[in-house]
Amino acid sequence: MEKTWNNKAWFMVLPVLLLVAFSAVIPLMTVVNYSVQDTFGNNQFFWAGAEWFDEVLHSERFHASLGRNLIFSAIILLIEIPLGIVIALNMPRKGWGVPVCLVLMALPLLIPWNVVGTIWQVFGRVDIGLLGHTLANLGINYNYVQNPMHAWFTVIIMDVWHWTSLVVLLCYAGLVSIPDAFYQAAKIDGASRWAVFRYIQLPKMNRVLLIAVLLRFMDSFMIYTEPFVVTGGGPGNSTTFLSIDLVKVAVGQFDLGPAAAMSIIYFLIILLLSWVFYTVMTNYDAER
């Protein structure tokens, strides 16, 4: 759409600007403040320069939680994206099946995150949970509280349960936008199922898939509540992802300097990803 240049539009944006500035800029400035200062209590602060950044960037603890978080994000992307595509391809296109599928699949997306954690915490328990009980009866000594591998398994299957539907719904939205004529042309040409997918469906899903990958990466990179409820970051530190670690440092130990420096590094990574997301969106809008 052709837009007219009008700086008075600023007045319409002003409320949003003030509100978000209040809840984003002021807190962020506090964080920046803490990240370059040291304190011995009594509200006395000393200039610390880049000391905290140096400390955080070289701390093994930060590397470990960052690494864990990246591995976690990679695993769930590798599972959720292909799974989401396969399910979306097999969803009904018309009839009563469509609303049924959409409603049931979207349900996990709308459950409060801590309840998602609670659901899986209960579901995985050997004594009272269906999953834990079944695994135990199969002869597996399943215990997500003590075994790190089992904790990871639980957190990953929980995330797959929680978020695969988002990939499905995004892909489905891309698929239903393909006109029937495309499929008819493919039928006339005698295209195989794979060819239809590779040359018709996949190109049409390109953009939604990119959105799905970015959203899933960013959300899994910020994951806090679900693993916190299920494993509390344990056993040991094995499921302590970035956010959990940050809250431990900031609220648990009240180490303001390192926590602030960590927040800023964390935020910069997210900023970079948001920029990629934004570029993808606006480029597409421009093409359209």
């Binding site: 009008n6 097999n90 709308l110 309840v115 609670t118 806090y224 940050l246 997210i270 948001s274």
Partner: protein, 301 residues
């Protein structure tokens, strides 16, 4: 369809034997196509069963007594009881959690949508100094990790004496909900042709009158979707809500985690509380089913 029509036209001119042969071939083809997609329902069905099992298990537990949950392992309640729900609806420390959550969620939804409406209109209709940077900056707030903001929020709202009030949580959640609402509404508004605005102005409508009488009805579904997602994201958030409240405005989510960490917890009540938090989403989900992907992708699908 065009293939079959084509075949029909041509076959009508052919001798009977050949017609028969073509019919058979066509039937075979149709059958083959049917074979290909005969089991399409298997994958969605298995997936939906996978999704529903844990939810079913929670519902199942919520109708059992604690003794039954811990004592016997059964796929459905042997002696269904409403005791767990009764506990929640009679114990103020439980039901107040729901009231608190609903109060700040509704406040947040109203604030977010109201301030987002004019802003989204500005973004969809006008170019102005720094518009693209502003739009991007909004997005970064939607994507910002709540863990980064937990501590500074606590200090900010302490300074204003707002800790443990509903408005504190409502304002804090604006951090990600206002950008979300702006992005979603902008997506919907861009779908309304600009000629409508221009015609209205020519007809002598003032801007506020046009906006309320003509424009808002046109994007009513967009407002509904934006409100729904603000509601939902505020409803599911725990970290910030928990940090900013102690007792008077404590949300149900935080009350639930408290029981988890306590020893000797009551699984049945916990399950019932969980089931009740799913209900708001489950009620409206049918009406927004076609917009869920759109809402999560910030109105860009």
């Amino acid at each position: 369809m065009s293939v079959q029509q084509d075949t029909l036209v041509r076959t009508s001119e052919r001798p009977e034997a050949e017609q028969h042969r073509i019919d058979k071939a066509l039937a075979r083809k149709m059958r083959k196509r049917g074979d290909e997609s005969k089991f399409w329902w298997l994958i969605p069905t298995v997936y939906i069963i996978f999704l529903m099992l844990p939810i079913y298990w929670l519902i199942n537990m919520s109708f059992k007594t604690n003794q039954e949950i811990l004592g016997t392992f059964s796929l459905w309640p042997q002696n269904p009881t409403l005791q767990n729900y009764a506990v929640i609806f009679t114990d103020p420390s439980w039901y107040k959690g729901y009231i608190n959550s609903i109060i700040y969620v509704v406040m947040n939804t109203v604030i977010s949508v109201l301030v987002a409406l004019p802003a989204a209109y500005a973004f969809s209709r006008y170019r102005f100094l720094g518009d693209k940077h502003l739009f991007f900056w909004l997005l970064t707030n939607r994507m910002a990790p709540p863990a980064v903001f937990a501590l500074p929020f606590f200090q900010l709202y302490s300074a204003f004496g707002l800790i443990d009030t509903h408005i504190a949580v409502a304002l804090a959640h604006c951090l990600f909900n206002v950008p979300l609402a702006v992005w979603i509404l902008e997506g919907f508004m861009s779908g309304v042709p600009k000629e409508i605005d221009e015609t209205a102005y020519i007809d002598g409508y003032s801007f506020p009158r046009f906006f309320v009488r003509i424009f808002i009805p046109l994007i009513a579904s967009g407002i509904g979707v934006a409100a729904f997602f603000c509601f939902m994201f505020s409803w599911v958030e725990l970290l910030i809500a928990r940090t900013l409240t102690t007792t008077a405005a404590k949300p149900i989510a935080a009350i639930m985690t408290r029981t988890v960490s306590a020893s000797g917890l009551d699984w049945g009540v916990l399950a019932a509380a969980g089931v009740l938090t799913i209900i708001p989403g489950a009620i409206v989900i049918y009406f927004v089913r076609n917009y869920i992907a759109k809402g999560f992708a910030l109105g860009r699908v």
